[in-house]
Amino acid sequence: MPRDPALNVLQGTLDLLVLKALATGTQHGYGITAWIRIRTDGDLEVEDGALYQALHRLEYKGWVDADWGVSENNRRARYYSLTTRGRRELRLTEDTWRRYARAVFRVIDNPA
């Protein structure tokens, strides 16, 4: 896989967000940015370019499928959906994240 020029630290997080966005149903890239903004109350600023890179990367890995469809305003748009493998990856990544976050919170919330 070609090397990723975008922010490497965020990559795992961004992939998780994209997979999660697609778990609710088929969506195009713009729709995913909107979904992320709504679900995070705009707290997470995701660069659009990085999102598309993540989408194509996930497609390359076989976690998401892409196909052309017609958007809500009758435009031709590229729609993404989770594959079976993508669904499994999402579950795994969620678990990892929860344990990671719990560990970090334990440290932050019990400073003694």
Binding site: P2, Y30, D48, Y52, H56, R57, E59, D67, R75, R78
Partner: protein, 869 residues
């Protein structure tokens, strides 16, 4: 349209498609974002700027996405090809297993074709193509000369960088075994540039010392490979020679038969006159051309020299040329045509074999139309089905080819014992890389031939309707036409090989029936070397006493000797002059020169045409006499008045006297059965005592039973006299026909195999035709056609195909004939008898191949056949 194409799951996106897609996707995103921002109250310009800012680096992202997508497309494409290939092969394998009979026939047919091709090519490669094991072998040349002529070549030309000269000689070991050896000059080994395995080569410092270099073979067989063999003494024909070196196993010069190489400086002390005898052209120069000298240039110098020599020595050199040939031509010249003919024949066989498999596949395809139609109906494309069919054919070719290589590997082991004597460097024949390359090429070409035919057929067929109605008439006709064309070409090719085999066979039969001028039954011949009797007087008395002692043995009918051995070698030739006819052209003044004992012709069974043969009274001091052969007599004395006339040999070594002709004898073929009527002069052995004599013994019964008593009798005369190589004359005859027999057998074998395969192909086509026309035949029968007329229609189809094939083949046979010309004895390539035989045989095959289908046709029950359809 493009969108439609991309929308279809199984088409792939090109690089351009991918770039377009990425561009469209990003454009859609930006437009959506701009619309959102404008809705929030930004101006269009500001909204665009903001959208671009939120997106980040546009170009990098687009490039990144494109790269990933392209990679993915490539992976998918490869994966799909791999999957389809696996499907194709798996399917092909299942088809083969489901029809093991068909698969076995196809595999075996191809295996035999590939195996034979590989085997023959491996021989051709080792003998004709592989580099010779000598330094700068491409510049090595050979030249036949006499020793004085060689001196002139060296003195007055500078064409060779290095050169040596060699002759051959049969040596007698201490145990009477005959060993073929070379007599080699001091530069012989350096010219060939092969270092010895042990010890050293013969060189300038050896002068006239008795030294010998032995072959690896002899080292193993006589000395058990002893490391200390160098320095040992070996008794050869009565001389003690010191072994100075052992050559490696690959050094077989000029042929495998040569087991040792004796210093020429020493050998010439025994035969000093050979160094002065310009007409004794029994020596070969081996020379390495200078790098800058082209062979044509060198030949130019030699031709000029030959002209000068002819002027200086008109007696011996008039009309004598010096002809340079490459060392490879010298070493393999005799077998080249035979090997190439064999290769051509086997390639024809391979073609016929592959065509048969293709034809078989075609026939099977017709019965598989329904299956193919189903596959089309469930979505397989035409190209996909073509690939499917090709995969089956190629799998068959590959498996058959692999099996063929196994066959070739087995055959290789048997090769030396089958053709070892006739083909140079047979032990180097192996399945080497170039040989395997040619096999692979044959397999691929065979596979393509087998694969392309069904694909061609497919391209002409409308598969879909087959599901409903079965194959249509037009498509069937195309199948029949394709198979007919195949079978015509097959028969044509088979006819070419067959006519070659017949012409060779015809020539061979003529050769067997040739009159060699001798009666070979109950006769034994052996060499009696007189090398240990150094004086002419000692040779005279030893030979006379040996012959007398053999004549006295019980069971011996008669005995005689001569310096030539019929069908094997005359040993010597000479220039001569008939009294009063010094003006005769030089090429009519050459003849074999043979010294003979009394009773030689009587023993040999050679009829005396006029005069007498030699008697005991033609002694050393008696008037010099000569007997001449019939051809010679006819040329110079057409009125039959040869007796009493005189001729003189121009031969400083033995005799320069005027000799009176006392007899004319029938022609004897000295060089082999195809050595037609060579002029020959015979002198009494007592007057020209050579250092050897071939003794001929005619027995009352089995001549080989006499060998022990003959040996005893000869030893009792002088225990230094060897009885060398005693052999029945009949064995010599079969040896002299071994080469043509081998050639003829080989080509005949390929011809029979090719013809059988072609007959199978023809049968298949005719049988298919009958099966296809079952209904038509049934109608004919129902309408009252007679059984013979129906049969005739079937046979007629077969005959038409066969005759078309014959016409095609005979054209090709004319071309082949030109190649064969040099191999034929008193037979022309377009020998009408052979061609007639081909035509007759083909008619027989055509009738034979159609016999079964014809019978089946007349067994058709009209009612059932019509009901079935």
């Amino acid at each position: 349209m493009a969108a439609l194409k991309r929308g279809f799951r199984f088409s792939f996106r090109t690089g351009g498609d991918v770039a377009g897609d990425v561009h469209d996707e990003i454009a859609f995103h930006l437009e959506m974002r701009v619309k959102e921002l404008v809705d929030r109250g930004l101006s269009t310009d500001a909204a665009w700027r903001e959208a671009r800012r939120q997106f980040g680096d546009l170009r990098t992202t687009a490039a990144y996405c494109q790269r990933l997508d392209n990679e993915k497309e490539k992976g998918m494409r490869l994966r799909r090809y791999a999957i389809e290939l696996r499907q194709d092969l798996g399917y092909a394998l299942r088809m083969m297993v489901r029809q093991p009979g068909h698969a076995a026939i196809a595999l075996l047919t191809i295996a035999i074709g590939i195996g034979a091709t590989t085997l023959v090519f491996s021989v051709v490669h080792a003998s004709l193509l592989a580099p010779l094991p000598y330094a700068h072998a491409d510049r090595l040349m050979a030249l036949r000369v006499s020793l004085p002529d060689y001196d002139d070549v060296r003195r007055s030309t500078d064409i060779f960088e290095d050169s040596g000269v060699y002759g051959s000689n049969l040596y007698t070991a201490a145990d009477d075994e005959q060993i073929l050896g070379g007599v080699v000059s001091d530069r012989f080994f350096t010219t060939l540039g092969v270092p010895p395995q042990l010890g050293r080569m013969i060189d300038e410092n050896d002068k006239a010392s008795p030294v010998v270099v032995i072959s690896h073979d002899l080292w193993q067989s006589r000395f058990g490979g002893a490391r200390d063999v160098v320095g040992r003494t070996m008794m050869l024909s009565g001389s003690a020679l010191t072994i100075v070196g052992v050559m490696p196993a690959t050094f077989q010069f000029p042929t495998r038969g040569f087991k040792l190489w004796v210093n020429m400086g020493y050998a010439m002390t025994w035969a000093p006159k050979q160094t002065e005898n310009r007409s004794l052209r029994i020596f070969q120069v081996v020379g390495r051309l200078r790098p800058a000298t082209a062979p044509a240039q060198a030949q130019g110098q030699l031709t000029a020299l030959a002209d000068r020599l002819a002027q200086a020595y008109p007696d011996t050199n008039t009309g004598v040329t010096l002809t340079l040939v490459s060392i490879r031509d010298r070493l393999v010249g005799d077998v080249r045509t035979a090997l190439l003919v064999a290769l051509g024949s086997v390639a024809c066989l391979l073609f016929i074999a592959c065509a048969n498999v293709a034809s078989l596949t075609l026939a099977r395809m017709t019965t598989r139309m329904q299956e193919l139609a189903v596959r089309v109906a469930i979505g397989a494309g035409r190209w996909r089905i073509a690939r499917q069919l090709a995969a089956e054919s190629i799998l068959t070719a590959l498996c058959g080819g692999a099996l063929g290589l196994v066959f070739a590997w087995w055959g290789l082991a048997a090769l030396p014992s089958l053709i070892g004597d006739r083909v140079p460097r047979i032990e180097q024949v192996s399945l080497s890389l170039p040989v395997l390359g040619v096999s692979a090429l044959s397999i691929i070409l065979g596979g393509l031939l087998v694969a392309v035919v069904p694909v061609l057929q497919l391209s002409m067929t409308h598969i879909e309707p087959a599901l409903r109605a079965g194959p249509r008439g037009g498509e069937m006709r195309f199948t029949v036409r394709l198979r007919s064309a195949l079978v015509i070409v097959q028969i044509g090719v088979a006819v070419i090989v067959l006519s070659g085999a017949l012409v060779l066979g015809h020539s061979f039969v003529r050769l067997l029936n040739a009159d060699a001028g001798i009666a070979p039954d109950r006769m034994l011949a052996f060499n009696l070397p007189l090398i240990q009797q150094p004086t002419p007087g000692a040779r005279r008395s030893a030979s006379t006493r040996a012959l007398e002692s053999i004549a006295a043995l019980p069971g011996v009918e008669s005995v005689g000797g001569a310096t030539g051995l019929a069908l094997v070698t005359p040993q010597r030739a000479t220039t001569f002059e008939v009294e009063g006819r010094a003006d005769a052209p030089i090429n009519e003044r050459r003849a074999y020169f043979i010294a003979a004992s009394p009773d030689y012709f009587k023993t040999l069974g050679t009829p005396l045409v006029s005069g007498r043969e030699f008697t005991a009274s033609d002694a050393e001091t008696a008037p010099p006499v000569v007997v001449i052969s019939q051809t010679l007599a006819r040329r110079y004395f057409p009125n039959g008045d040869a007796i009493g006339r005189r001729l003189k040999l121009i031969n400083p070594e033995q005799s320069n006297d005027w000799r009176t002709i006392v007899g004319v004898v029938a022609d004897v073929r000295y060089r082999g059965l195809d050595d037609v009527d060579p002029p020959t002069v015979y002198t009494p052995f007592q007057q020209t005592p050579f250092p050897w004599i071939y003794v001929h013994v005619r027995a009352h019964g089995d001549p080989t039973a006499l060998i022990a008593s003959i040996r005893h009798a000869v030893k009792s005369v002088d225990d230094r006299l060897p009885v060398a190589n005693p052999q029945p004359m009949t064995a010599l005859i079969s040896q002299s026909t071994a080469d043509p027999r081998f050639r003829t057998t080989l080509v005949a074998l390929f011809a029979v195999a090719g013809m059988l395969l072609a007959a199978v192909g023809l049968h298949g086509v005719v049988a298919f035709g009958v099966a296809r026309r079952t209904r038509e035949i049934a109608i004919r029968l129902a309408l009252g056609a007679s059984v013979p007329s129906v049969r005739w229609r079937v046979i007629r189809q077969s005959l038409a195909l066969a005759l078309a094939g014959v016409a095609l083949g005979l054209g090709g046979a004319q071309l082949l004939g030109r190649v064969l010309e040099g191999l034929l004895y008193e037979t022309t390539p377009s020998d009408p008898a052979s061609l007639a035989a081909v035509a007759a045989l083909l008619v027989a095959i055509a009738v034979g191949a159609s016999a079964l289908p014809a019978r089946r046709a007349t067994r058709i029950q009209p009612v059932e056949a019509l009901r079935d359809v």
